[in-house]
């Protein structure tokens, strides 16, 4: 009888990511988000059926890192491009967009709201780090009040610039979306939870619009070392941007109830002499 040590993989780099090294700054959570999306695609075994749409922003080169069919979109227009891809290709394909807060919540706000409102069968991965990373740390629609950026050197003043936009809550007022959730990429536990949300979104994609917001960091833009940035996220962003599932097929808010008015009932308007 002999005894030998055998190695079993506990964690390996997923095959859905290419071998290319990322251009992201050290500690940037884009890398974690990329990996989670790639792992979910790997686990669902849909690599050959998935098409991703890249944003403009730091993740503009994401097509270099995903071993998938990828399409670059004009700034903020990824949901519109994904709509086209979804409608042209056979329904068994999976289409997702990967967008930051500058791309999705600022220049692309119209596209995301209308794609969600139409109930396009796509998954949107929304990276919210409360700052414009690629252009050098300007204020984003999601920047917290009082936070200093290059365009808010005295801190974001809500009376001047408005309060940060909670995109998940905003989209949750629409009827059509099937799944809206927010996760955080701040520690291994939150990352595991975030991955489950991404998986749910992909699994539900063929039933309607699915959206996952991921609270992220920008160590360079925030001027913090990566680990301190993670703690900053937990202490300052998470109380305002609450994590969790906002809507799912088994937990729909009242706003998801379709409204079909009885148009034959004119409410007595004719009797009052109103034009018909």
């Amino acid at each position: 009888m002999s005894e030998q040590i055998e190695e079993r993989a506990v964690f390996e780099r997923t095959r859905v990511l290419t071998a290319k090294h990322t251009h992201y700054c050290p500690g940037c959570t884009h890398g974690i988000a990329h990996r989670l999306v790639a792992e979910v695609i790997d686990e669902l075994d849909i690599q050959e059926k998935t098409i991703g749409v890249c944003p403009v922003g730091c993740a503009v080169l994401a097509y270099e890192y995903f071993d998938l069919d990828m399409q670059e979109a004009a700034h903020g227009r990824a949901p519109a491009v994904a709509t086209g891809i979804r409608r042209v290709l056979p329904p068994d394909r999976y289409v997702f967009t990967y967008q930051g807060d500058g791309d999705l919540a600022s220049i692309g706000m119209a596209e995301i709201v209308h794609a969600a409102n139409r109930g396009e069968k796509i998954t949107v991965i929304f990276i919210n780090n409360g700052i414009y990373g690629m252009t050098g740390g300007q204020m984003a629609p999601t920047t917290l009040p009082g936070v200093k950026t290059t365009t808010s050197p005295y801190g974001r003043a809500p009376e001047e610039c408005g309060h940060p936009i909670r995109v998940s809550e905003l989209l949750n007022t629409l009827v059509a979306p099937r799944f809206i959730a927010r996760g955080a990429l701040s520690n291994p536990r939150e990352i595991a939870r975030a991955k489950k949300l991404i998986r749910q979104a992909f699994e539900l994609q063929h039933t309607g619009f699915t959206f996952v917001e991921l609270l992220s960091t920008c160590p360079t833009g925030w001027g913090l070392p990566p680990e301190k940035a993670m703690r900053w996220l937990e202490h300052n962003m998470m109380p305002f941007f609450r994590t969790g599932v906002l809507r799912a097929p088994d937990a729909m808010p009242e706003s998801a109830t379709p409204y079909a008015p009885d148009l034959s009932n004119d409410g007595g308007a004719a009797k009052n002499g109103a034009a018909t």
């Binding site: 964690f11 990566p226 993670m230």
Partner: protein
């Protein structure tokens, strides 16, 4: 024995894995990689429990974790 394989070329020394290791087994090494960073190294391999929390935090996908399993065969 368990093994943590760190891709030395990919590592950007962000230290997120160092903070994730509950046993404090990871540290920046002395070597310098092509990017100009000091890649992370495991200091005490024998104590690693292969929990893979370091790999879960790594933004570069630079860490792979393997568990050593004893196999007895006739």
């Amino acid at each position: 024995m368990n093994r943590v394989a760190i891709d030395q070329d990919r590592c950007k020394a962000c230290r997120l894995c160092i903070g994730a290791c509950r046993l404090n087994l990871l540290a920046l090494g002395q070597s310098l990689n092509a990017k100009g960073y000091h890649p992370v190294e495991i200091t005490d391999r024998a104590r690693c429990v292969a929990c893979a929390q370091c790999a879960a935090m790594c933004p570069e996908g630079a860490i792979a974790v393997y568990r050593g399993v004893k196999r007895t065969s006739a």
